[in-house]
Amino acid sequence: MLKKTPLNETHRQMNAKMVDFGGWDMPLHYGSQLEEHHKVRQDAGMFDVSHMLPVDIKGDGTRDFLRKLVANNVDKITIPGKALYTCMLTLQGGIIDDLIVYFLTESWFRIVVNAGTADKDVAWILKQRDALAPGLEITPRRDLAMIAVQGPNARAKVWQVLPGSQAVTEDLKIFQSTTFNHFFIARTGYTGEDGFEIILPADEAPAFWKSLHAAGVAPAGLGARDTLRLEAGMNLYGQDMDESTSPLESGLSWTVDLKSERDFIGKQALLDSNPTQQLAGLVLLDRGVLRSHQKVVGQINGQAFEGEITSGGFSPTINQSIALARIAAGVSPDDEVHVLVRDKQLRAKVVKYPFVRNGKVLV
């Protein structure tokens, strides 16, 4: 039996093509994935991301607990509503999940974790809570829905359908959040465009979704979500990283704080490690489509190396295929590599990603 979000019926009414996404019955597209992609880059689109799980952590000492639990440093978030992207690591430094932490008050932080890892994450967090901070209250919030409204006109559309919300959300900077009535509104997303992620009571989600639609926001499915996030150079858990890879080999060194005195789970393993691989961006020079698990071959200082594409696809904005690939750490931007696609070796250029940000091609 597939799990359903509060918007399941709404998606079906909008003729969504539904797919099994890690046990969830989710919309892949509503007709054309490409059109949905362009709509988000050029105007505004919305995604049902209610399969992701908000988890509230409450009680005295929540900040101390999170300083230990996650690899980025929650001491960076001191303004109420401020958000932080981070990995949660195993003792061995492998990535259990990537998540966003919101600082609300000193006795209330909220994290939002991936759908496919939610059960594992909650079990891990409870285990750490029991050992480190037994007084804290950990509450998974399946009573909430989450809608991401993304695109250059996304915020204006939200303001249009939520009268009064502009005054309280207009000054939010990237990675800040606030509450408006009982809606939690964050200026975050997974597309490389401006916009909001909005957490709201499940029973209010269908009406809000429909009012956004009436205001001209296009429903967009997981297909467009994947091509948008790939263009934006954002990792997908389970594909670009997992418990067998460390953030230092996944393009996420910037999210790991190894400088402060603070100890966190996985820190020692990262300090002891000597990363030999990196996550690099590829742009295909020949015709074809890069896909995950294709093999990458190349040479560095006369030495052959092999790597693998972790996420690949066609970039609708660039009109060429792009990929994230795990390859030897010494490979640099502008180096050329080959990707094995069926019986062919296609040429690809190594690039610094993101590929696209705020509607502009960067590669």
């Binding site: 297909g223 074809g288 896909r291 066609f314 609708p316």
Partner: protein
């Protein structure tokens, strides 16, 4: 979308048009493009390539996946629709009007084994259940 009655079909969702001169024109069905979603790349065979029946002969790539196209009959490729390289979306717009390649049949008797429109409709109906 109705299934044109003047074409033949395979269970793997190719369509086949038997031309007056005995050659055949081959494409993928509307059902196939619908399953694949927006097309972004088509890898065509080369003129002069020979294929046996059901051999992989082309690849249709969408935003979602790469799908092999199988040769409905044996034969030699005499022409390919290279215009698809620049506009693969034509397959989404008109699958039965967007041919991939033409074959000179190696064994015309194989054509008798292909499905007609009613037979192909049955294949689609059985996939729905």
């Amino acid at each position: 979308m109705s299934i044109p009655s003047d074409l033949k079909y395979t269970r793997s969702h190719e369509w086949v048009k038997i031309e007056a001169d005995g050659t055949v024109t081959i494409g993928i069905t509307d059902h196939a493009q619908e399953l694949l979603g927006d097309m972004v790349f088509v890898e065509l065979p080369k003129v002069g390539d020979s294929f046996s029946q059901k051999q992989e002969c082309a690849v249709a790539e969408s935003v979602k996946a790469a799908a092999d196209v199988y040769s409905p009959i044996s034969g030699e490729v005499i022409e390919v629709n290279s215009a698809l390289a620049d506009s693969p979306e034509k397959i989404n717009q008109d699958a039965f009007g967007s041919w991939l390649f033409k074959l000179k049949p190696g064994n015309p008797a194989e054509l008798d084994g292909l499905l007609d429109a009613a037979g192909y409709q049955e294949v689609l109906d059985s996939e729905d259940h």
